[in-house]
Symmetry: C2
Subunit: 367 residues, 2 copies
């Protein structure tokens, strides 16, 4: 488990907040380490006061909560002890005047219910806090990346003429699960012109000679995600295809070099640089080379969720700091023809940025 | 795709609603048939007016939307064409005065943004509409159930001394995916006393002689879910264990018999009966036999989501009608000792209720 709960309480004291209601599953995982709740149904809330921490859930989870989250006080929500009743009691007990809520997660219906009783609520976000990872979190992401690299080695052997995108996606999933992990998102496998669709859904298309194979997949291990993309060539690439690959690779290198150089010369205590500058370092090169601009952000933070802060894009206001982990993933997409994307994760450590993805990046040609 | 969009428009005309904003992924699947959007991030909205239907998403999905949802007009959300801009234009164009929203899905932040411009919004739900399935939807659920039954046959051969819960769960997933489908929820495999935890997370416990094995899993095929539970015995059950199994089985039989008898004698045109009465038929028998009451609902509707309306529980106000598909899943749980649950899906058809789960229910004893 991360040191999230201690960090949160410190921030609450400084901000003079009486209590925070946590509803998003990713924040519940962050603060408790328990990942058993559904991502699609509301099954639990946390209420954190300066002195106490509660988990509110129903009878299905009581045994699991007592076993896995003993440092939280369990409150069972029942037909006779409704959410309304529970909140009323807690607000009274802890003299809560100002209540922080996750307005980007709480539904309008839930909000209206809470507003019946307490008017003094405001938006409270753990986003900034979660974007800076502690050593345990970084170690978990690194382990997920290691398994990602192993998966890439494994899948190279499975790429053969006649396989379908879905079969390759399934083999990736199979390998990851056999190794005790999960997918961090649905695997993207795109052959040939499908690689020009950044979020292609792996389908029944069959691999033919002389096609790019784009593989974008992630591992979730101990609640933390990895994310990597490699584009390889099946057959013999033309000069035009090679050129596109080289430009994407060089564009990624420029972003990483920029990060390395800039980060090193910053004052060690206040190290911080603009996310948008890193994006530009990669994007400008692609445009210079007369290819269309990257139709997505250069990168995104990652952790318990596959997309977290910071956002590495031209309009991002985010500032990169020590402890952040994010992707660098430039791409060139030419509709109806080809797409190439290369994606690694990087962590900003005390001294240097460090790549967490280790798989080879020179163009692999399979036959 | 379901006939949802036609149904919705008919209801809108009758209710004098100008437009409905759809944000939940399950409703987007229901109305468009397209399932490519993330379940955990907001990537698309639908705006349905009486005459037109729009899908609002970003550039990552444009190609997919044009290909798979040609009957919706695509509006691309960009940095220069924000959600605010888009809504303003559409509201003006269609003279929208009254806007329906999914208040149980829309976040407080999104709601506040919309409220800046249009005050006349109200909660709009597709829940009731979706609880009644058309023939195509029933056929999809039936196919998912068929694969569920095949999965059960397959997994029986894998249950051997020394396997772990996680291994069995993985084998179930493996078989379902190899058959081109997905899980509808994380598989529950519980050995021995773990079966007493209704929502047990499959773990590293190893199968030993003389234990119950509870298997609760579902298939998602063509966007529709199945859900089934079987509890089998590994070794030789004691009389006490056999008795518990028989009581659960008989309790399920009583609910199904009640449904059959009642449904048949109802007027064919207005067929409807109380969900709570079906729950009671099963629950009362378990209590009569001196076992603890079922600590959950007897059943739940199912479709695109694994939990939909109706809710079959003692306090449910839901009315069962032709076209509904739901589970009947009584259970007895004795903490630290055993748990038994048996779950089938049933559909209410014109003449009769019909079971969609076909797997054997007499106690299977494996050695």
């Amino acid at each position: 488990m991360s040191q999230g709960i201690e960090k949160l309480k410190k921030i609450m004291v400084n901000a003079n907040t009486d209590a925070v209601l946590i509803s998003s599953v990713s924040n519940i995982i962050y603060l408790t380490g328990y990942s058993g709740f559904s991502n699609t149904e509301r099954e639990a809330y946390l209420l954190i006061t300066k002195t106490q921490q509660y988990i509110i859930t129903d009878g299905r989870y009581s045994e699991a909560v007592l076993l896995h989250i003993p440092h939280f006080e369990l409150i069972e929500r029942t037909i006779k002890n409704t959410l309304d009743d529970i909140f009323k009691k807690l607000i009274k007990k802890h003299h809560i005047k100002k209540l922080g809520l996750e307005e980007d997660n709480l539904s309008v219906s839930e909000f209206k219910q809470i507003k019946k009783h307490y008017n003094n609520t405001y938006h409270y976000s753990l986003t900034a806090m979660r974007s800076v990872k502690d050593n345990d979190e970084i170690a978990r992401i690194e382990k997920a990346c290691d398994l990602g690299d192993k998966t890439f080695d494994y899948i190279l052997k499975k790429i053969k003429k006649g396989v379908s995108e879905k079969e390759i996606a399934f083999e990736i999933e199979f390998f990851i699960k056999k190794n005790g992990a999960d997918l961090s998102f649905p695997t993207i496998v795109a052959f040939g012109k499908n690689s020009a669709i950044p979020h292609h859904q792996s389908g029944n298309d069959i691999l033919n000679n002389n096609q790019f194979v784009l593989l974008d997949f992630g591992v979730k291990l101990n609640n933390y995600c990895s994310d990597m993309t490699r584009t390889i060539f099946f057959g013999k690439p033309t000069e035009k295809q090679k050129k596109i690959y080289q430009v994407v690779l060089e564009s990624q290198k420029r972003a990483i070099d920029f990060l390395n150089t800039k980060y090193k010369i910053l004052n060690t205590k206040t190290k911080s640089l603009k996310a948008s500058d890193v994006d530009n370092a990669a994007r400008d090169y692609i445009i210079e080379q007369n290819y269309p601009t990257i139709p997505h952000s250069l990168g995104h933070g990652i952790g318990i969720e596959v997309h977290e802060f910071p956002n590495i894009s031209p309009n991002s206001k985010d500032i990169l700091k020590e402890g952040m982990v994010f992707s660098i993933e430039p791409g060139i997409y030419i509709p109806g023809f080809v797409g190439v994307r290369i994606e690694d994760l990087v962590v900003l450590e005390k001294q240097d940025p460090r790549l967490l993805t280790k798989s080879r990046k020179t163009l692999i040609e399979l036959t």
